[in-house]
């Protein structure tokens, strides 16, 4: 096993390398500069020291102004990274993201564009309660003009974030807080992971499990558990949620004839709905069983550990749903 790093290190390195390579890369967000601790969980530690507080700016607690400032600078040659501490706080800046950042290229007839990356963290499991850990990626996937990315390994976090920063359109980069300190193979410095390309994490023949972000862990454990009961599951990490890599999914499901989508977001009207709808349409005559979906229960994230655990998708649920496609 080669060098290991966690997500915090990989994301920090990606920003560091991007800022070193391109002086137009900026970072704006609450507490991001070292004088403010280098981020509430130190993801941006050292960046203001290395690149100065002109380029790495701690902001007031004003998400709409943070995103607007990043957007405006992006219109005239900068490649800003706007850090919105937690995904639920995007609700405060939705106008700038949806009505402006995502639409300006189209509404200007291509005269302007917004090469901005919004980094945000989220994810349940820590007892933060109902307003700090929602998974809202489906909202942004429903908006034309913005890309949505969610890594599940430190190396992908590095390579996808580098690609987002260099992308000429607004990208929403979603980081999972509970797994921030989980180790994985270190990225090769400079590597880019292309946007819009899923990865087949483990090959299988009986059922395709499609997931992304934090639930790749549960899905991976489910794949092991399934193999023990003789079921060969293929596991796909979407990595980019919008635009998503339909081709890789279809290629896999053509082989397995069965599909299961797993995500932390609540199931109804989630990302799994679009994937299930597309797969069901494209492979209507191929599918041997209905596409299954596993997500969190449809309620606010509860505080009590007994409830939070029951709310989140479990390995057992994934295993059972996979088996259901084979029944």
């Amino acid at each position: 096993m080669g060098e290991q790093v966690n997500f915090v290190q990989a994301i920090n390195q990606a920003m560091h390398d991007a800022m070193a390579d391109d002086s137009s890369v900026l970072l704006l967000g609450e507490d991001v500069a070292d004088e403010e601790g280098g981020g509430v969980v130190k993801v941006t530690a050292g960046l203001s020291g290395a690149f100065g507080t002109d380029r790495v700016r701690s902001t007031p607690i004003t998400e709409e102004a943070i995103i607007g400032a990043a957007l405006g600078a992006a219109l005239v040659g900068k490649r800003p990274i706007a850090e919105i501490m937690l995904m639920n706080f995007l609700t405060v800046g939705m106008d700038q993201i949806v009505n402006h950042a995502a639409k300006l290229r189209f509404m200007s007839g291509g005269q302007t564009h917004v090469p901005m990356t919004i980094r945000t963290m989220t994810g349940a499991g820590g007892g933060a309660g109902g307003q700090h850990t929602d998974m809202l990626e489906a909202w942004f996937a429903h908006v034309a003009g913005i890309k949505v990315v969610a890594p599940s390994t430190p190396a992908d976090a590095y390579g996808l974030l580098r690609s987002c920063i260099e992308d000429d359109d607004p990208c929403l980069f979603i980081e999972n807080m509970p797994t921030y300190w989980t180790n994985g193979d270190a990225p090769v410095a400079g590597t880019r992971v292309p946007l819009g390309k899923a990865s087949v994490v483990s090959e299988g023949t009986d059922v395709t499990i499609i997931s992304y972000a934090r639930t790749m862990i549960e899905a991976g454990s489910a794949v092991k558990a399934l193999s023990e009961s003789g079921i060969s599951a293929e596991l796909i990490d979407l990595r980019t949620i919008a635009p998503f890599d339909l081709e890789t999914i279809l290629t896999s499901v053509r082989k397995t004839k069965r599909a299961l989508v797993v995500h932390e977001a609540v199931t109804p009207f989630g990302v799994g709905a679009e994937i299930a709808a597309r797969v069901s349409e494209e492979l209507f005559h191929t599918l041997a069983a209905p596409v299954q979906r596993v997500g969190s229960t449809f309620n606010a994230v509860p505080y009590a550990q007994s409830l939070e655990e029951a709310h989140l998708p479990s390995i057992q649920q994934i295993v059972d749903s996979a088996k259901k496609t084979l029944a």
């Binding site: 507490d31 933060a128 700090h132 550990q305 007994s306 409830l307």
Partner: protein, 331 residues
């Protein structure tokens, strides 16, 4: 604007009541810290109000259970001063079904309408727009209730602050915007996030009455709160109070609390408001050492009982996930 000194001052019994609230908050804070270190109750997150005990303790001398409070994640001092029962509070922190919110809300969303604790939010700025709505209902019903929205200095920069103060002033709502200025927002110092020297001066941008006060001075805070409460009850409209204070224990448990500059924290701790009030009660002859010891012993017992209650209480059953989502959940 500062306080006008001809105003009524707190009586000895008011000062003792303020101390009792502040001491309850402080002892409860110590007990929460203890419980989190031992880990036995399973409290998962906690934003300590240490340093800010006096503000709500003085405020609530002017409020009844009928008055409304909307506070924030760092709001346990406000909740306790407003009269939330400690048993249900501890059970909520411990994630038990006997908690104020059945363990569903937790520390950032403690709610207890019976004591006027209407909403606790984890969103910076989220408390202010809701407070206007509570005050609007009171204005329509002419029920003489006062609504208090608590928030921090950092929150005075977010859009919700601006929209809420503008609306409250236009409509002369019976609401008090209580900015607890501890000079720090998570890890960002006040002057780094707020472009004005005094949050209270922002009241002028809404043609609103503003008060800048030392929130850790029980007499000054009592006077400021009285002025604002009287204005609200008598239909004179909203007030913005900026109560200066300290944050002694970091943003949340586990935070290294590194924002202080050389010597700042030591100087602040010398002015730790709860012991200061205790000394004042004795030096001014409002209470004897023995009386305070008795009072404090009762608080210790109250907290012991609350801890025990939480420890014995059952955890919520997973079927609770389907309840309280929409009406009709059998709950």
């Amino acid at each position: 604007m500062t306080n006008d000194n001809n105003q009524a001052q707190p009586s000895g019994s008011s000062l003792i009541a303020i101390y009792e609230r502040a001491a309850r908050i402080r002892k409860n804070d110590e007990a929460f810290h203890g419980a989190m270190q031992s880990g036995k109750l399973g409290i998962r997150i906690y934003y300590s109000p240490r340093g800010q005990e006096i503000i709500p303790s003085a405020l609530c001398d002017h409020l009844t259970d009928a008055d409304y409070l909307v506070t924030i994640y760092r709001g346990v001092h406000d909740q306790i001063a407003k009269g939330i029962p400690l048993k249900a509070l501890w059970a909520e922190y411990a994630g038990r079904v006997t908690g104020t919110c059945k363990g569903k809300g937790g520390p950032m969303h403690v709610t207890h309408p019976a004591s006027g604790n209407m909403v606790t939010t984890g969103i910076v700025g989220g408390s202010l727009p809701i407070a206007n709505g509570l005050a609007l209902a009171s204005q329509l019903d002419k029920d003489q209730r006062v609504t208090v929205a608590c928030f921090g200095d950092g929150a005075s920069n977010i859009g919700a602050f601006h929209e809420s103060l503008n609306m409250a002033s236009l409509w002369k709502l019976p609401v008090i915007f209580l900015c607890q200025n501890n000079l720090i927002a998570e890890h960002t110092r006040f002057e780094k996030g707020t472009a004005v020297a005094r949050v209270a001066d922002r009241a002028a941008a809404y043609n609103m009455h503003g008060i800048h006060v030392n929130g850790n001075d029980p007499k000054a805070m009592w006077v400021a709160a009285k002025e604002a409460v009287d204005r609200a009850r008598s239909g004179k409209g909203p007030t913005l109070i900026e109560a200066m204070t300290f944050r002694f224990m970091g943003h949340l448990i586990g935070d290294p609390d590194e924002h202080w500059r050389e010597g700042e924290k030591e100087a602040a701790l010398e002015r730790d408001p709860v012991p200061a009030l205790r000394a004042m009660l004795i030096s001014e002859g409002h209470a004897t050492e023995d009386e305070l010891i008795a009072l404090e012993r009762n608080l210790d017992e109250e907290i012991e009982e609350a801890m025990a209650f939480a420890a014995e209480s059952p955890k919520p059953d997973p079927k609770e996930l389907n309840l309280d989502v929409l009406a009709g959940g059998a709950s």
